[in-house]
């Protein structure tokens, strides 16, 4: 596919964007990374994602694909000869889709409330967040990755959020590792892979970004 034109419209700190970067890295796909200014959205972003006007957007040979997990599935289906993200058995595939959907429904929303809310609302979010991580630990079991011996769809959906854990812990004043050591061990194991370490951002930089966001939204 030497003539493929692949561009990723993204924001460096976005865990959703990191999912796509990781997916492209796993498949060894060369692409152009285009950092977006979400305060001043560019014409290309508005043209490629008119419905949501959000990143990430993958533009493949001029055609856009939006929504991070939909993009990840698209990447898996187009570059299908290498590193499959989903198992071949339909039941296992359904389980992978279920748990990736679970990450979408729980981890981002609870995480966001941890850094945006205070008092009781923040406490409730911390509890929901930890409960969700514990369910994920249960699903991981003894496997090295959710995908088994190799990184798969659920790993790609989840592990970018690790870069936001330091921000959640510092702002929420709690230790995720104390409550979910197995999950943190898993995240660190993933980071040993080059595709993961080069696709994920530095948690300290992410924290600085969240501090900036909180100032901007007037949260203190």
């Amino acid at each position: 596919m030497a003539s493929d034109q692949v561009t990723l419209l993204d924001l460096w700190a976005s865990p959703f964007g990191m999912r796509v970067r990781l997916a492209l890295a796993e498949k060894g796909v060369k692409y152009e990374y285009s950092e977006q200014d979400l305060m001043n959205k560019g014409a290309l972003l508005l043209q490629m994602n008119p419905v949501h006007k959000k990143i990430p957007v993958l533009v493949h040979n001029g055609k856009p694909v939006c929504e991070s997990l939909i993009i990840v599935q698209y990447i898996d289906e187009v570059w299908k000869d290498k590193a499959p993200f989903l198992p071949s058995d339909p039941y296992q595939r359904a389980q992978s889709r279920f748990w990736a959907d679970f990450v979408d429904k729980k981890i981002y929303d609870f995480g966001r409330k941890i850094w945006m809310e205070k008092g009781e609302d923040q406490e409730a979010a911390k509890k929901g967040f930890i409960d969700s991580l514990k369910l994920l630990e249960g699903e991981l079991g003894d496997k090295p990755y959710f995908g088994g011996e190799t990184i798969g769809y659920v790993d790609i959906a989840l592990v970018p959020f690790y870069t936001w854990f330091y921000a959640y812990e510092t702002i929420g004043n709690f230790s995720i590792e104390a409550e979910c050591p197995k999950l943190i061990g898993y995240c660190k194991r993933c980071l040993k892979k080059e595709t993961v370490s080069k696709s994920l951002e530095d948690p300290k930089k992410v924290y600085d970004f969240v501090v900036m966001l909180r100032k901007k939204y007037g949260i203190e």
Partner: protein, 229 residues
């Protein structure tokens, strides 16, 4: 495959439950429908979907699959000699999944909240949102159908199922509020599609009657009023 091998836990009025039912019908798969009662969750449901405790749940050979669109993809993959539900081209698949996600995350929550809107102004704002969404979906229909009768082309597919399962409630809402949200001027393609969809052989037996949903909406409102805040 014996009928008892495939069970679906659901409820007649749920648009999410309708989705796997249509998918199973497309594949001509017989199944046992286990109806949940409003207000209580069966032991089987709690055991099969401990994470969300919600319907629908497909139980195939004793193994549960949860989340309506995950179930639809599963059905498409398992019963694969059989009319395809998802398109074959990866970009078309991504587009179908995109619009299904839009429906579930943006459009349907707005529609559902119309019933519990706190005042007339809030209700109008939500109805406008639903109406604007329908105009977007009219555009999606033009693009996906490529001149044919369904989002899936000649045959109903993933997006027809994802969107069509909300039509019963859309019609009930139109009736309860005395409005037309889908009309000939703004959404002519969708209006025609809605008729074709609701009368399709794989759909018509599981498509809820508008009157029954209007009655059920009253029952549901009473039930919700009894729940702790």
């Amino acid at each position: 495959m014996a009928k008892s091998d495939v069970k679906l836990i659901g409820a007649w009025a749920s648009p999410f439950v309708m989705r796997p039912r249509i998918a199973l019908n497309i594949k001509s798969v017989e199944y046992e429908f286990l109806e949940e009662i409003l207000g209580s969750k069966s032991q089987l449901l709690l055991e099969s979907n401990p994470v969300h405790k919600k319907i629908p749940v497909l139980i195939h050979g004793g193994k549960p699959i949860c989340e309506s669109l995950v179930i639809v993809e599963y059905i498409d993959e398992v019963w694969s000699p059989g009319p395809a539900i998802l398109p074959s081209d990866p970009h078309d698949r991504a587009l179908a999944r995109f619009w299904a996600a839009y429906l579930d995350e943006k459009w349907f929550p707005a529609m559902r909240n119309i019933v519990t809107a706190k005042d007339e102004e809030a209700r109008k704002a939500l109805m406008d949102q639903v109406g604007e969404g329908l105009v977007l979906l009219e555009g999606a229909f033009s693009k996906c159908s490529k001149g044919k009768g369904f989002f899936g082309g000649d045959q109903i597919g993933y997006l027809d199922i994802a969107f069509g399962s909300f039509l019963g409630w859309l019609r009930a809402l139109e009736k309860m509020n005395g409005v037309k949200l889908m009309d000939e001027t703004k959404t002519p393609g969708l209006l025609k599609w809605a008729d074709s969809f609701s009368s399709h052989p794989a759909v018509k037996d599981v498509f809820p009657e508008t009157e029954k949903l209007v009655e059920f909406a009253k029952v549901l409102a009473k039930f919700k009023a009894t729940l702790p805040k």
